[in-house]
Subunit: 150 residues, 3 copies
């Protein structure tokens, strides 16, 4: 071991490790959503997950409800004839004393019709509680707020 | 310690640690700006920070000036009736021999009026000098250039 | 070494290290493209790299072809009078058993005319095979798909 690692506080390496895991987790989770892979996407949440998202007036609870949400989104995209891609950025990761992570990020959706111009569909803030469950992170609680409905 | 860590050059782990710290730093700093938290945002800069940003013809110097800039931005948003969110991406982090970091990233602002469509407000390049100050990174120098004014 | 590092599986630190390297690699590679630095950009690919990108009907092969592609892009931007910036996000990094990395990300291009409004030009998916070559990562294969042409 060289001096630099010795001098690097272990908390900083652990944070870097968590940060990369969370980025990879969201890349995968968002990819599943964009691909309308309803069951796999729902599996990235805990079984008892709660998802608060506009314009729904009631939170979605549990994986069956989450998967149904993906299928509703897919049906809407097919009606509107546009490919929608989600992005996140400005990811803030806060490890908690109980081993969970609180994350906050901005989320965007871009819609692109075939042969047409892309446009920004929504600008959102997404706040999650992530828990480690069977060796991977899963979302236990998600709250999305949309800038146009704020 | 397993073989993989032994084989991983310490400089690479240190770089990963720095990179995650800088991403987290910007997530937090941009969040404070979006929330118009003028004093907290100014506190993420050094006391003698210099901030060059268009369309201002003179650099902003020091925290009082930085905080005033946030309040000007907040007043403009209230006049124009839109919620503005900043993003960064394409983050390039270059550790310097003196312990400072030079960073370069693209920055975007999205504006969303209540009930209306989001749009891209500005595309910028943001170049910072970050210094470690009382156990955290702070911006000592920032230069923003806007693609529409280039 | 403190307990936390001992407990952190080495694979997780190695992943964090790879993830940061890849983010930095793309920040640099995209910056070279935006700056129309054709030869330096081509140098971030392997000599035998294959680049599949719409609307080209044939893959670009090798560095001379890659550099020519940058110059074509530069000429088009000059004709159209807009500054174009690429972004990536939602970066998924998958280490392979042979030491290569498979990456998948979303890519955006923003166009900004002088004094005008920025707009989203393209929303793409970018899939790379990265190989370590002379102590740095290089792209050996890239496939870009555009949402408007899907």
């Amino acid at each position: 071991m060289t001096t630099e690692i010795r001098n690097e506080p272990s908390g900083k390496l652990e944070f870097a490790s968590l940060y990369a895991q969370v980025e990879q987790f969201y890349a995968h989770q968002l990819e599943l959503f964009d691909a309308h892979d309803a069951e796999s996407w729902a599996g990235t949440f805990t079984e008892d997950a709660v998802f608060e998202v506009p314009p729904l007036s009631e939170p979605v609870r549990g994986r069956a409800g989450l998967a149904a949400n993906v299928r509703r989104d897919q049906a809407r995209q097919q009606r509107e004839g546009a490919c929608v891609r989600r992005w996140i950025g400005k990811l803030d990761v806060r490890p908690q004393f109980d081993g969970t992570l609180r994350t906050r990020c901005s989320a965007l959706a871009y819609a692109t019709p075939p042969g047409g111009d892309s446009r920004v569909l929504h600008v959102c803030v997404m706040e999650d509680v992530l828990v480690r469950s069977r060796s991977t992170w899963r979302t236990r609680h998600r709250r999305v707020t949309r800038d146009d409905l704020a």
